[in-house]
Amino acid sequence: MGAIYVMWLRQLKRYWRSRARMVGSLAQPVLFLVALGFGFGPIFQKAGGGNYIDFLSPGIIAMSILFTAMFNGIEVIWDRQFGFLKETLVAPVSRYKIMLGRTLGGATVASLQGLVILIITLALGFRPSSFLGVLLSFVFMFLIAMLFTAFGTAVASRLEDMQAFPLIINFIIMPLFFLSGALFPLDSLPGALKLVTQLNPLSYGVDGLRGALTGVSHLGLGMDFLVLIVLGFIVTLIGSYLFSKIEV
């Protein structure tokens, strides 16, 4: 067993053991799906947008991955407060490996959460266009998960306690989510706002997921894939650098 593996396993065990939290975190995406999906559905249809559940489902899957991934990354702060962080920081293992292990673990957890939401959307009437597309969507789920877990870890490496937590939710997670095309199409937005959405990495994640699941992609699956993987790589590098510089 290597260090990366035990760090990964730890994240999974923690996830599995806090099933209450897991069920709780399903409530929000389901509420969004039901309230927005059925609420805006008829208007969306009248406006010529097609089936809103089909449009919305990939967006909500991306949302739940974004939230779970960021929170998993930010768990570094928890570890700092409960002291466990020290145990990993003095271990005779490169901190890059420690960071990579926990990021992979967090990303796996977030992908699993995305998978659960996908199953729920199927129950609510979402119909992916092809089986192959569903398989492809797993790739995008993991890429989104990896990018934002690493991002959360990077942010948390520079924070010392939970005070900043509401800031992160309100100034990072919420804008990322609302301006990603998860809830509405981006093509008819005013110029400045459109630019913001193009700079938002989650836009590529949502587009990639939607492309894989429904066959309709705006930016092109290749482009989505490329942006996510390159950014994911860069953010993981920055994250592990910041993580390696943590002082307790």
Partner: protein, 265 residues
């Protein structure tokens, strides 16, 4: 004998507090060396710097020949540490905490199993090994923490006030075990404690630190002679005075205060 820890003119300043004020000392290979000092004297800060958790403001350190600032990984390979404050994962079981540590410290599978069983039995937690740590009492957590610190046998073992909150049974076990490791494996032990009788019994040499400065250093016998005291406790009180110190803000308290400024440390 060669020095396994060398510290020269080490200084650590936090905003307006000098926690460690220009200290120099060395620890010989195979020695049991105690750092004694009142609350807030700078003991934990020194250990944190030696164990790569904190960077010094200035000064030089060598741990097993490596600079903890620049050769972090090699330095970390040389030591193990039992922290003063909790560092367990509450969501994992006692056994998993032990195993996690053993894997990180590269203890091979066979040794891992036998040592974990042996240690957990000794601290009386073997029956509870599959319980999550969050249901444990404070004393049980402390015992687990001690057991975990002994799963691997490093060249240097740091013990930061290891016996705080331990019952006499576990305390006895701990000192016996450490003495044995020290003899058999020539393991160097660097410890801090408030219990002077313990320090007197186990240490080859002690350093008394106060207000970030080393005020005396030598064998317990030397210190007693120097201060004309019967016990090390008396010697300690003569060296550091009887005034009760203000408790040093723990890392966590400092963290709470500074954490309010977002992203700054």
């Amino acid at each position: 004998m060669e020095d396994i820890i060398q510290v020269k003119n080490l200084i650590k300043k936090f905003q307006n507090l000098t926690a460690v004020d220009n200290i120099s000392f060395s620890v010989k290979k195979g020695e049991v060396f105690s750092f004694l000092g009142p609350n807030g004297a700078g003991k934990t800060t020194t250990i944190k710097m030696l164990t790569t958790l904190l960077s010094p403001t200035s000064g030089e350190m060598l741990v097993n020949g490596f600079n903890p600032m620049h050769e972090k990984d090699s330095a970390r390979h040389s030591f193990g540490i039992v922290f003063q404050d909790p560092s367990l994962d509450d969501e994992l079981t006692a056994y998993e905490n032990m195993e996690f540590h053993a894997v990180l410290y590269n203890v091979n599978e066979h040794l891992r199993k036998t040592r974990i069983e042996h240690l957990l039995k000794f601290v009386g937690l073997w029956e509870r090994r599959n319980d999550q740590v969050k249901v444990f009492s404070g004393g049980m957590k402390r015992r687990l923490e001690i057991a975990r610190g002994l799963v691997h046998h490093p060249k240097i073992l740091f013990l930061d006030e290891p016996t705080i909150g331990l019952d006499p049974q576990t305390r006895n076990f701990l000192w016996r075990y450490i003495k044995e490791l020290n003899k058999k494996e020539k393991m160097t032990v660097f410890l801090t404690t408030h219990y002077m009788e313990e320090a007197e019994k186990i240490s080859d040499r002690v350093a008394v630190i106060d207000h970030g400065k080393i005020v005396a250093m030598g064998t317990p016998a030397e210190l007693k002679k120097k201060t004309k005291s019967k016990t090390l406790e008396d010697a300690f009180l003569k060296l550091t005075g009887k005034i009760i110190r203000e408790e040093e803000a723990t890392a966590k308290d400092r963290m709470r205060i500074r954490g309010r400024a977002w992203g700054r440390r």
